[in-house]
């Protein structure tokens, strides 16, 4: 469903993503791990068509995001990192706008909005203005926007960032449930999340994949049986960069 083929992004002299390749199949939840600045968000932005890659290509359901961006974008639901929203709208208004822009009309639009509100437990704040929402609700509103058109591919950039433990649990359950019928790529810093909801995980560091496998395989790679130790072993920290 998602085929990433030697995706590269160069910002000036800095190579943010260096010839990255991987695939995500239907029914698979791929955890995208890596330290800050490893190129996770940049990769996701390229797959979703927000920024053009320097070289390489990404295909979503067989459609190239470079050759046919609008057709590919219809297949993707995307939750950006900071969960941006139009603060002057209500939750309901915002979701209706997103549904309309995705080409949904009439009852199909209303049904989609209703479904997304139910899935993300937004019923109690549906008529509330977005700028009065707490962070958890903001995140879920943005997640609801990604689910509206029932996309085959979901790309979630740190979907549990800033949520309380209860909300984290709910979102992980949601990802797991949605993962049965969709291809999901989600990035995270939280290593327990990998075991909790991923069927496979890759670790990226400085734009390159440094580890790839199912959670069990990754655990086996680690000498101590801890993902944190493996993560620390294969990635380089900021402080090591500064020292070098």
């Amino acid at each position: 469903m998602i085929e990433v083929d030697s995706l590269t992004k160069q910002f000036g002299t800095k190579c943010a993503v260096n010839s990255l390749s991987f695939t995500v199949q239907k029914g698979e939840v791929l955890g995208f791990l890596g330290p800050n600045g490893a190129g996770k968000s940049t990769t996701m932005r390229m797959i979703t068509g927000f920024i053009p890659p320097t070289s390489g290509d990404a295909k979503v359901c067989g459609i190239s995001i470079i050759d046919n961006p609008n057709a590919a974008k219809t297949k993707i639901g995307y939750l950006p990192e900071s969960a941006p929203l139009y603060n002057d709208m209500t939750v309901l208004g915002f979701l209706k706008f997103c549904a309309a822009i995705r080409g949904l009309k009439g009852t199909a639009k209303n049904d989609a909005v209703e479904r997304a509100i139910d899935t993300c437990f937004l019923g109690s704040v549906a008529k509330q203005s977005i700028d009065t929402l707490s962070k958890g609700y903001r995140h879920r509103t943005c997640l609801a926007q990604a689910l509206l058109h029932d996309p085959e591919v979901l790309i979630l950039d740190e979907p549990t960032d800033g949520l309380d433990p209860n909300q984290k649990f709910e979102v992980r359950q949601l990802i797991k449930r949605l993962g049965q019928t969709k291809a999901i790529l989600f990035s995270t810093h939280i290593l327990e999340e990998v075991e909790a909801s991923c069927t496979r995980a890759v670790i990226v560091d400085r734009g390159k994949i440094v580890a790839d496998g199912t959670p069990a395989e990754l655990l086996a790679q680690s000498e101590t049986g801890s993902l944190t130790d493996l993560f620390r072993k294969v990635t380089s920290s900021d402080t090591a960069h500064a020292a070098a």
């Binding site: 053009p52 950006p80 900071s82 706008f97 997103c98 822009i101 995705r102 080409g103």
Partner: protein, 243 residues
């Protein structure tokens, strides 16, 4: 279709907040205030509205039009919603058109709300309504030109205040270039060729002819090309920022 959706969102955003109301009220106070004070509406007894009312519009627009357009892209970049817009299946152009039309609609409403002055001259005198209509079209085109300049600036920055200051500065320049007292002063220091160039940048040559009821193709081409170039520039800047 997607332009239409974005247009509706932007327009409702103007009216769900105090922005549009404040701008419209201030515009009405200023434009009508100038008409009755410096425009000497009551004393001149001129029912054409050319000098008493419409003449003041570019002066008011140069300060107020950027206030309507400044948020269009600056806010989108500051809050990060541009990332949502950029991953929806819509082209940058349809977003630009939708936003531009929404801002223009706010001004269209403001202009329509000046109807009492047209009713007044029709009651008091016997004006040429065709000429007044042409003046209104000229006024609206000046406003759209300033909005397109603001939109271009707004694509360059995520800070609305910076956008407002820079856009107002550019619009003031466009108004002053070609304004008679300014050109008279300039003619003393620059060569006629340069002066002609400066006048060509200015809005008056094109606005005044429409304001006097004259439909000249070259004026429409002037307004149209500036708007088009600014919108094209907006699209280029937005794309280059993502690269």
């Amino acid at each position: 279709m997607s332009s239409c959706t974005i247009y509706k969102r932007e327009l409702s955003s103007y009216f769900s907040q105090p922005t549009a109301y404040a701008i419209i009220v201030i515009f009405l106070i200023f434009s009508l205030g100038l008409t009755f004070t410096f425009g000497e509406f009551m004393r001149t007894g001129d029912s054409s509205l050319e000098w008493t009312f419409l003449f003041w519009h570019p002066w008011v627009y140069m300060l107020l039009a950027p206030a309507v357009g400044m948020k269009l892209w600056a806010d989108e970049q500051r809050t990060g919603t541009i990332e949502l817009l950029g991953t929806f299946p819509v082209s940058t152009w349809s977003a630009i058109i939708g936003k531009f039309m929404a801002a223009a609609t706010v001004w269209l409403i403001a202009l329509i709300l000046t109807f009492p002055i047209v009713a007044t001259v029709n009651y008091l005198g016997n004006p040429d309504n065709g000429a007044i209509f042409a003046g209104y079209i000229g006024s609206f085109l000046v406003c759209c030109t300033f909005l397109s300049i603001t939109m271009l600036v707004s694509a360059c920055t995520r800070d609305q205040v910076v956008c407002l200051i820079v856009s107002v500065a550019i619009c003031v320049l466009v108004v002053l270039c070609g304004y008679d007292p300014v050109t008279r002063e300039l003619s003393k220091v620059v060569s006629p060729g340069v002066l002609e160039g400066i006048v060509a940048i200015g809005v008056w040559d094109h606005f005044s002819s429409l304001n006097s009821g004259l439909f000249r193709l070259k004026d429409f081409i002037w307004f149209g090309s500036i708007i088009f170039v600014c919108l094209l520039g907006t699209s280029a800047i937005l794309s280059s920022k993502r690269a």
